[in-house]
């Protein structure tokens, strides 16, 4: 099941809320959450829901083993076991086809390429269970002795299919004890509606622009062969913005739902589009993923406290893995490496030197790098990707601008203005300003309520027509 869908909004969610708030008994509430989460997952993956439960059992046991054998070899064994099983699942379900295909191409063998449909969200929950086991081993979180509470942590439906990757340390205490008050409900509902608006009104709108510029996987990205230079850069920027609005919208809904149930998830996006440097961009973009890789890959590799060469290698390893996490095709690790290179470049220049640069130049540099980067992200076939590269520098003989790009900009000019505006923290700033004085505070708070209702209704109407409502995370 996905969030941006009438069935979720007007059936699953209300029913879940009714059952959840029917009782104050936390045990029953936990039970409600587990049942609804499993139904939620089984809705899209009726068979592979077993995989989710299997992964939970494995790491639940690993946690207990670590607890009993602290400091002994068995604890280490449990961590290794968790890594092997979880990464094994991930490789088997997500990368096996990719690996076999490449082995075939490389050595010329004729292994049949396994056709396994990727269970939705597998990358998210395997990463969560891995983080739990490692945190247990590092003694950062208390071991969860109740299996059902642990299952609730893994299966919690707000963050199940499209993140964020919630650490056990973030919500461990709230699994044991949590309450919901009016403030949390109000904030939660507002957050859900905000996320919905980002996804349905904005991201879906940009999605159409992107397919006009670049085509889509279904038609083999036909349009990219004729796209002009400006069209290519514009399209790349649009891909970045589409993913930003779509993904942060989903995260907002997850955070909002969590808030209503009494959980406080960490923020996953902090206005990445206002970044001045690529390293800042990655501190603001999909934070739960980049911090996961930082804590469980980069730092164990030695981080920056090793020799210079090793440090650079570490960065490239982490970033190629980050890229690969997004999907099983070559453009994703390439995308990761691409950003890794710019991070290296920024390390080479040094923080102080970067600060001396005029802000305008830094902004232009970052935006261009991001636009090009998300072009790489978009094309999961090599042919169109190459065509995109050529188009960005005009090497395919296409003109500087083209009619379709111009028309599509004109056709969406107000949407694009909104897109640029809301990519900056305008709303929170305005709100903060208004909350200083009484009259403006009343106005802004009333406007907030009205906007919430309006956005909710608009999204609902737009969702009636389902032809343009893509789910972007089926590869993750």
């Amino acid at each position: 099941m996905v969030f941006a869908d009438l069935f979720f909004l007007y059936f699953f969610m209300p029913v879940c809320l009714i059952f959840y708030f029917m009782t104050r008994n936390l045990h029953i509430r936990n039970g409600v959450l587990i049942v609804f989460s499993l139904v939620f997952y089984a809705w899209g993956e009726p068979i592979w829901v077993t995989l989710l439960i299997f992964s939970s059992i494995v790491d639940y046991i690993n946690g207990l083993v670590i607890e009993k054998n602290r400091g002994k070899a068995a604890a280490k064994g449990a961590v290794v076991c968790s890594l092997i099983i979880n990464l094994g699942l991930l490789v088997a379900f997500k990368y096996s086809g990719f690996i076999v295909e490449n082995v075939n191409n490389l050595i010329g063998t004729q292994f049949t390429v396994p056709k396994i449909s990727l269970p939705i969200g597998i990358s998210f929950y395997t990463f969560q269970t891995i983080s739990y086991t490692i945190d247990c081993y590092r003694n950062r979180v208390p071991t969860q002795k109740n299996f059902f509470k642990f299952l609730m942590y893994v299966s919690l439906f707000p963050q199940l299919v499209a993140g964020p990757i919630v650490r056990y340390s973030t919500i461990g205490e709230e699994i044991e004890y949590r309450t919901t008050d009016m403030q949390m409900i109000s904030e939660g509902v507002s957050r859900i509606i905000l996320g919905l608006g980002k996804k349905v009104i904005i991201a879906n709108g940009i999605g159409k622009i992107v397919t006009t510029c670049f085509g889509e996987a279904a038609d083999g990205y036909a349009a990219v062969s004729t796209v002009s230079i400006t069209g290519a850069w514009f399209g790349g920027a649009m891909v970045a913005l589409q993913y930003y609005y779509d993904f942060s919208g989903y995260s907002d809904i997850a955070i909002g739902l969590g808030r209503i149930f009494g959980f406080h998830f960490d923020e996953n996006f902090k206005y990445p589009m206002i970044s001045k440097t690529i390293s800042e961009f990655w501190r603001r973009w999909h934070i739960s993923l980049s911090s996961w890789f930082r804590d469980y890959v980069y730092i164990p590799l030695g981080g920056n406290r090793v020799s210079k060469g090793r440090h650079l290698l570490n960065i490239m390893i982490v970033w190629s893995l980050t890229g690969l996490w997004h999907g099983a095709s070559w453009n994703f690790p390439l995308w990761g490496l691409y950003f890794g290179l710019f991070l290296l470049l920024e390390i080479g220049i040094g923080k102080d030197n970067l600060k001396k640069c005029p802000a305008v130049i830094l902004h232009i540099y970052t935006k261009l790098v991001v636009a090009f980067g998300f072009g790489i992200f978009y094309f999961d076939q090599n042919g169109p990707l190459l065509k995109f590269f050529k188009a960005t520098v005009g090497a395919n003989g296409n003109p500087f601008t083209d009619t379709i790009t111009k028309t599509v900009i004109k056709n969406n000019i107000y949407l694009l203005m909104a897109v640029v505006l809301f990519a900056m923290p305008v709303v929170p700033k305005v709100k903060e300003l208004c909350m200083k004085r009484k009259t403006s505070a009343v106005v802004i708070q009333s406007a907030g309520v009205v906007c919430n209702i309006a956005i909710l209704l608009i999204c609902s109407i737009l969702l009636v027509n389902t032809t343009n409502n893509p789910f972007l995370y089926f590869r993750f």
Partner: protein
């Protein structure tokens, strides 16, 4: 009370004692409230105002004090809870219970509970009383007032007596007084309003969708049946189709979805400025292919219009059988042995094949056109595919090819011309590759009449008038009788809003400016029969389904595509025309009634007998391929056409 309250929070603060103190204070204040309550009436202002004011400020202070202490206590408790949860999970259970239980003895704040009911019951007190207490479910948080008017006054009061307040506070609690509160500005009220409004909206729609009558049946603008609630079975659950079906049903059958979709389209139309040209759907530019040499019309074959010839050929059919095959069949046999029906994705939906929609103009001139993306290689492949028909049929059957341009050939905006493939160039490629097939130049004929109503503006089909002109070109090369337009009966269908409305994502302009569909009925005598797609089940019916309406107005001809149609006319020239067509070809059929003795109309996409066997069986003298150029340039369609020739071979 549980032991947590006995723990001192810091050196000077003992919450349990404080609680007792507070309880006492509270009881006192309640007593005062009671007396205050009695003062409230019609003439309460007459009562000693001084005492009233004193009581008021007294209660003020106590409430503020109470609130602060509760807050402090709550925060500490929360921290402690967390600590405990970490250290001793057992303790947590005992703590949970009181919150769940309604027994007053176990409630952490029994007095407040009482207070709550009092406050809620007495709305008059709420107005006049100094500080209403706001309750948040089980947490019982005491909040400072927020109703209009009085707040500023209260704030002022508090500011003037701040020093005294601080002193009192220190004396009472032995802790530093809190810093000045952040101004509240109705935050909690707005939180409540916001949550209530949004949740009411969600739950309201939830309830409405649960009980309202759902849409069902045929949906005209999308030309399909709406989804129905799937029935549950273990298999359908396991392969995910059940869940998918339910979700689809839920969205598909939303009450009044047609209007909602229109509103949705209206919303998205405001994403940009109202331009003369609007791209709906995914228009993609295709690298324009250029013909290597300038086009020159090469007629590779001419029709054998000598009826006597045809007839003699027909009569000598059987004797010819031995003669003819010598030329063709030996090599054919080898190839046909290898040939197998190829699997095609059965997506014959012409609309999605067209895919990309450009809308230009406004008002009565609005026109939705689908861009053309044909490739030369496909045109070539198509030509080679129908060449095989000719090869198998031999010289006794005239084979014609009529590529029917789609409206973008004539009406695409000038600045888009370079972004789509050229239709005449593709036709030219086709013609160059045809062998012994007569090409019918519908394009040039139509190009002469672009000022007339030859294409629908809201539908992807042409108008019958366009078909008339194209038929003229065919009649010229086929050498048949072709009556003037005036010799036909003329019929109109108003308010025809065609398929482009849907493919343009419900463009309002199209909906508001529908087409008029004009069609023509031949006046000579004819009889019409229909067969199933496997050429069985012959039954007589009318040629024109006059009741066709809405988006399906175009199926006025033969009621649609999924039948084989036979027309026997009063023209006794011994010629039998077989039309292999897509839906574009349907409009041609009425104009052929005056020129052939027998006409068979076959939709190549829905044809379940062997084409060659069929053609021989009906004694075909003229075979016409009449379909839109987009069908001719779609590889899956070409494969289907090829399969028709190969499949079910006897």
């Amino acid at each position: 009370m549980s032991k947590k309250e006995k723990q001192p929070l810091d050196g000077s603060f003992d919450p349990s004692k404080q609680l007792e103190k507070l309880d006492k204070l509270f009881a006192e204040s309640l007593g005062q409230l009671g007396s205050f309550d009695s003062l409230v009436g019609e003439d309460w202002e007459k009562v000693d105002e001084k005492t009233a004011a004193e009581t008021k400020s007294d209660i003020d202070e106590q409430f503020i004090a109470l609130e602060e202490s509760k807050k402090a206590k709550k925060d500490k408790n929360k921290e402690k809870d967390k600590e405990k949860a970490k250290e001793e999970p057992q303790a947590e259970k005992t703590e949970e219970k009181p919150a769940d239980d309604d027994d007053d003895m176990l409630m952490p704040f029994p007095v407040i509970k009482e207070e709550k009911s009092k406050e809620n019951d007495d709305s008059v007190l709420d107005k006049t009383g100094p500080i209403p207490v706001i309750f948040k479910e089980e947490d019982a948080v005491v909040k400072i007032p927020t109703y209009e008017g009085e707040e500023e006054e209260l704030e002022h009061e508090q500011l003037t007596s701040k020093e005294e307040y601080d002193r009192l506070f220190e004396e009472l609690y032995h802790v530093e007084p809190p810093k000045k509160r952040e101004p509240n500005f109705y935050k909690s009220e707005f939180r409540f309003i916001n949550a209530a409004a949004c949740l009411m909206c969600i739950f309201g729609i939830f309830a409405y969708l649960l009980f309202a009558d759902r849409e069902s049946g045929f949906i005209n603008s999308e030309n399909r049946m709406l989804a129905t609630m799937p029935s549950f079975s273990v298999e359908s659950y396991l392969d995910g189709s059940y869940a998918k079906g339910v979700t689809e049903y839920f969205t598909d059958t939303v009450p009044d979805r047609e209007n909602l979709k229109r509103i949705g389209a209206d919303i998205t139309s405001h994403y940009g400025s109202k331009e003369e040209i609007k791209i709906s759907s995914n228009v993609k530019a295709v690298k324009k292919e250029v013909l290597e040499e300038p086009s020159k019309i090469v007629t590779t074959a001419t029709a054998n219009v000598n009826i006597a010839d045809v007839l003699t050929e027909d009569s000598s059919d059987e004797s010819d059988e031995d003669k003819e095959p010598k030329e063709t069949e030996p090599e054919e046999k080898i190839t046909t042995m290898k040939e197998q029906v190829k699997q095609v994705e059965t997506n014959f939906d012409e609309g999605t094949v067209y895919g990309s929609v450009i809308i230009e103009g406004s008002g009565k001139n609005v026109r939705a056109i689908s861009a053309f993306y044909g490739l030369f290689e496909n045109s070539e492949l198509y030509a080679k595919t129908i060449n095989k028909y000719k090869q198998e049929l031999g010289s006794k059957v005239n084979v014609y090819n009529m590529p029917i341009p789609i409206s973008s050939a004539f009406y695409i905006p000038k600045n888009f011309e370079d972004t789509v493939a050229s239709q005449p160039d593709n036709i030219e490629v086709m013609n160059r590759n045809l062998k012994n097939i007569i090409s019918v130049d519908a394009y040039s004929e139509l190009a002469k009449h672009t000022e007339e109503y030859i294409y629908s503006r809201t539908d992807h089909h042409w108008q019958p008038l366009g078909a008339y002109y194209a038929g003229q070109a065919f009649a010229a090369v086929a050498g048949i009788n072709y009556p003037e337009l005036s010799e036909y009966g003329r019929y109109f269908k108003e308010d025809f809003c065609g398929t482009m409305y849907m493919y343009s994502d419900y463009n309002e302009e199209l909906k508001n400016n529908p087409d008029t569909f004009t069609y023509f009925k031949p006046k000579n005598e004819y009889k019409t029969y229909y067969y199933n797609t496997d050429f069985t089940g012959k039954k007589e019916d009318v040629l024109f389904y006059d009741y066709a309406e809405g988006v399906n107005t175009y199926s006025v001809f033969m009621g649609g595509d999924e039948t084989i149609c036979q027309i026997d006319t009063d023209v006794k020239n011994g010629r039998t025309l077989v039309i292999f067509k897509d839906s574009f070809g349907n409009a041609l059929v009425p104009f052929m009634v005056g020129g052939f003795e027998h006409i068979y109309v076959v939709d190549f996409r829905y044809f379940n007998v062997n084409a060659i066997d069929f053609l021989k069986e009906v004694k075909c003298t003229d075979l016409l391929f009449a379909m839109s150029i987009s069908s001719m340039d779609t590889p899956s369609h070409i494969t289907t056409l090829d399969n028709d020739r190969i499949q079910y071979r006897k």
